[in-house]
């Protein structure tokens, strides 16, 4: 090749090559010049407030896909029938102003009057009816189908009353109304669901402006919002998958709210002068499931209890979690309105643990257990798994072998019952007893780690249909006691959620991870 003799101008060739690249770049760069620059000349108060999340919304449709990141965003466009009080987390009115059980299988909801969709359509009982019917339309393949399956018939005696009949007594129906986001019936009928998927029309505090997939979702305050126009005028959700980029964007003043600040970055954010960390005890609980699908040491209740006595959970909270977690006694967090307040956490008592092992006739120093842990899914999850293994080794002499899984694999192993004897998992938002214990303590439920003993199973089956609130509470209190006595898990803690918030706004995070931007305000 080296004996070649040049024929054409090399400079010209090079220029052509560069021009080709230039054209290539210019061809697609054209669109970018037309879009507006962020901030820049606009007055500070008008600069949009930006919430950066780890992923984009998966759809703009309500009631289609169950996905927290999606819900966090479209919840600002659509209102729900019932909400949870931001302080007590008890069910509270939103689009439904009152509700009652007419009998065990019939529920009546009175709706708020004078509410309008963003397209001017009035919000009526028809909207609720059409929305539930859409969810129950199997061909639409909504993830929410199983959550509304208990509904048998929907009546709308007048514009502001909805009566729901369930197939069996299903008090959990009330919980389903939290998160039911009504769609506009007239629009659905005239233009179809695809139109709504492109341009969402809700009754919520923010109106849809535009969505560029994987770039941003732009919203603007709804001037006709029934609870008053939100103070933050322009709202943008931006997906930034990489955490360090999210943090940098916050510190550079480009975004105003980010989630899941790691414990190690709290100081950096607070001392930046640009942003601060706001914390909230999360409803999400972290626990070590003690599986007993196959016969083994963990089938013995005494050994499960001994593991609870043998781990210094408070010590792990202090030294590993740096205090950013709240100890729980049983399977429910303290923020759960249905928690049994009589339960006290298992104390750290090595002698008691050893005695229980002796009673069970098992020598802990000859015992080897396996544990599965995700890494990077929950705060300090990997370190927590290591700390628990170290505690069990140090205090009881138990050898624990940990497998760290990539998140998808971790879930898959749990579902297929292929984990080790123990696995670390978080569960949330967990604000009711049935949705937590009813899913996690019942043998054939997807993410259960516990082959419930027949008695516990029976208690849960009996409790599900109880409508009377007092009797219901009593039944679930007893179940929590049973789960505690059975030592279903090594009970750990509810997480503390840490949000980074820019100093130009006030924003209060919620225990259930919802992001209610209409409650945020500019700081003076």
């Amino acid at each position: 090749m080296n004996e070649l003799i040049p024929r054409r101008g090399t400079v010209r060739l090079l220029a052509l090559l560069l021009m080709a690249v230039l054209l290539l770049a210019a061809g697609c760069g054209g669109s970018s010049t037309s879009s507006k620059a962020p901030g820049g000349t606009a007055a500070p108060a008008e600069k949009p407030v930006v919430v950066a999340l780890g992923a984009d919304t998966r759809t703009l449709l309500p009631m289609k896909i169950v996905d927290m990141t999606t819900y966090q965003q479209i919840r600002n466009i659509y209102d729900t029938l019932l909400t949870r009080d931001p302080k007590t987390y008890a069910l509270a009115p939103e689009l439904a102003t009152s509700w009652r059980a007419l009998d065990d299988k019939t529920w009546e909801f009175k709706l708020r009057q004078g509410v309008k969709f963003h397209n001017g359509e009035p919000f009526t009982s028809e909207s609720v009816k059409v929305t539930i019917e859409k969810i129950l339309d199997k061909s639409w393949q909504s993830h929410y189908y199983t959550r509304f399956e208990m509904i048998d018939k929907i009546e709308t005696p007048d514009d502001y009353t909805v009566i729901l009949h369930t197939k069996q007594p299903s008090p959990i129906l009330l919980l389903r109304m939290q998160g039911l986001l009504p769609m506009p019936p007239k629009l659905l009928k005239e233009k179809g669901i695809d139109e709504l998927a492109k341009h969402p029309i809700g009754v919520g505090p923010y109106k849809f402006v535009s969505w560029t997939k994987d770039e941003k979702l732009e919203l603007e305050a709804n001037p006709d919002y029934w609870a008053g126009k939100p103070l933050i005028e322009k709202l943008v959700f931006r997906p930034i998958p990489e955490f360090s980029s999210r943090l940098s964007a916050l510190l550079a003043g480009e975004v105003d709210v980010i989630q899941n600040i790691p414990v190690s970055a709290v100081e950096q954010v607070n001392s930046s002068g640009k942003a601060r960390v706001e914390s909230v005890p999360s409803s999400r609980v972290n626990y070590i499931a003690l599986t007993n699908f196959k016969p083994g040491p963990l089938s013995d209740r005494r050994i499960r209890q001994a593991l609870n006595y043998g781990v210094d959970v408070d010590g792990i909270i202090k030294y590993v979690m740096k205090g950013h977690a709240y100890r729980m006694a049983g399977a429910l967090s303290n923020i759960n309105p249905e928690v049994n307040k009589d339960l006290k956490p298992y104390p750290f008592d090595v002698a008691k643990a050893k005695a229980l092992f002796q009673e069970a006739g098992v020598d802990p120093t000859k015992l080897t257990l396996t544990m599965d842990s995700p890494q990077g899914r929950y705060p300090m999850d990997k370190e927590v798994a290591q700390a628990i293994a170290a505690e069990l080794k140090k205090n009881l002499g138990i050898e624990v072998k940990i497998t760290y899984n990539e998140w998808g694999t971790h879930l898959d192993k749990i579902v297929k019952r292929q984990t080790g004897n123990m696995f670390l998992l978080g569960w949330g938002p967990a604000l009711d007893a049935e949705g937590t214990i009813g899913d996690l303590a019942v043998k054939d439920r997807t993410y259960s780690g516990f082959a419930a003993d027949p008695e516990l199973q029976k208690m849960i089956d009996n409790a599900r249909p109880i409508v009377d609130p007092v009797k219901r509470k009593a039944a679930w209190d007893a179940i929590q006691k049973k789960v505690y006595d059975e030592a279903m898990w090594i009970f750990l803690w509810q997480q503390e959620d840490l949000y980074g918030v820019s100093n130009r706004i006030n924003f209060t995070p919620r225990a259930d991870e919802e992001i209610e931007m209409w409650r945020a305000t500019y700081r003076k």
């Binding site: 080296n2 101008g9 994987d214 770039e215 931006r238 550079a252 569960w427």
Partner: protein, 305 residues
């Protein structure tokens, strides 16, 4: 020429097909992704229904045949995560990747070739050493580190450029430079080494001996003959980058193909991953073909018959 082209295109189809087959089998070894896309309280019946609808309950050979039949028509199925056709989703992201790649290529070529030529011409001089240090560093420093350092310095400290996103020219600067740093280093190194090779040839000495200007010798005689290896590398790099600059796009939340594919892999979005493999292998094969054709243009002694 036509026969050559036909043969190469056929080869491209075979390469793409084999890549898809390999990735299809590997993906299915990792298990069934359905549960990741359903809510945690989904009942077994609901999971079974979705598995059935997506065909994950069928024997693997049947799934494979169905996949091949679909892929042949450009239909990779719907993305499990987004519920829209996978290939469409991918093509929507392509302009962003094309934009970033285009600028990064431009910047790297404009800097790397002069640096490589000068380094070679002034071999073992201070200029050469500085050039070598910069290019070795550029190649050795991982892209994610460079990107994050760029963000910390230019966005957080100095506030000159945004930390990420796409839409304005300011948002283009840091990702372009991050991406260009690596490619420019590679281009500069290969330019330098092939130039050194060419400059030791007899005709260069002859050119100098007959009194040609040094600039003329370097750029007109030497560089043109050094172009073939450079062109090869540019082609390889271009193919890879068009398939998505995975790290740079993720660090700068640049909504391109690379970021989409990383997310698809993490989410085990099988149809999207397969559409991505199709796209990337197609681009790499085609850019390779273009490079081979360009050889004939640069060097008239190369013929494809």
């Amino acid at each position: 020429m036509t026969r050559y082209l036909a043969r190469r295109l056929l080869e491209t189809i075979v390469v793409v097909f084999l890549s898809l087959t390999a990735v299809f089998l590997m993906l299915h070894l990792t298990g069934d992704p359905v549960k990741l896309f359903l809510p945690t309280d989904a009942l077994p019946a609901q999971i079974a229904e979705v598995r059935h609808r997506l065909g994950f309950d069928q024997p693997i050979w049947l799934q494979y045949l169905r996949f091949v039949a679909g892929a042949a028509r450009g239909d990779f199925g719907e993305s499990l995560r987004y519920g829209v056709p996978a290939l469409k989703l991918l093509l929507e992201r392509f302009p962003a990747t094309l934009e970033l790649t285009g600028w990064a290529m431009l910047v790297s070529l404009l800097t790397a070739i002069p640096v490589g030529v000068i380094s070679a011409a002034r071999r073992n001089s201070l200029t050469d050493y500085v050039g070598i240090i910069i290019t070795v560093t550029g190649q050795a420093v991982p892209g994610f580190w460079l990107g994050i350092m760029g963000i910390i310095l230019f966005s957080v400290r100095l506030g000159w450029f945004p930390t990420g996103g796409r839409g304005t020219w300011e948002q283009l600067v840091l990702p372009t430079l991050t991406l260009a740093a690596y490619t420019a280093a590679r281009f500069a190194r290969i330019t330098r080494s092939t130039m050194l090779d060419v400059l030791s040839q007899d005709y260069v000495r002859t050119g100098r001996a007959k009194g040609l200007a040094e600039r003329y010798v370097l750029y007109k005689h030497a560089l043109k003959n050094a172009l073939i290896p450079i062109l090869t590398l540019v082609g390889l790099q271009l193919g890879q980058l068009l398939g998505g600059a995975v790290v740079t796009e993720t660090v700068f939340s640049w909504p391109g193909v690379g970021r989409l594919l990383v997310q698809a892999l993490l989410n085990r979005d099988f149809p999207l991953v397969l559409a991505g493999v199709f796209w990337v292998s197609l681009l790499i094969s085609l850019t390779n073909l273009l490079v081979d054709l360009a050889y004939a243009w640069v060097n008239p002694q190369i013929h494809y018959g």
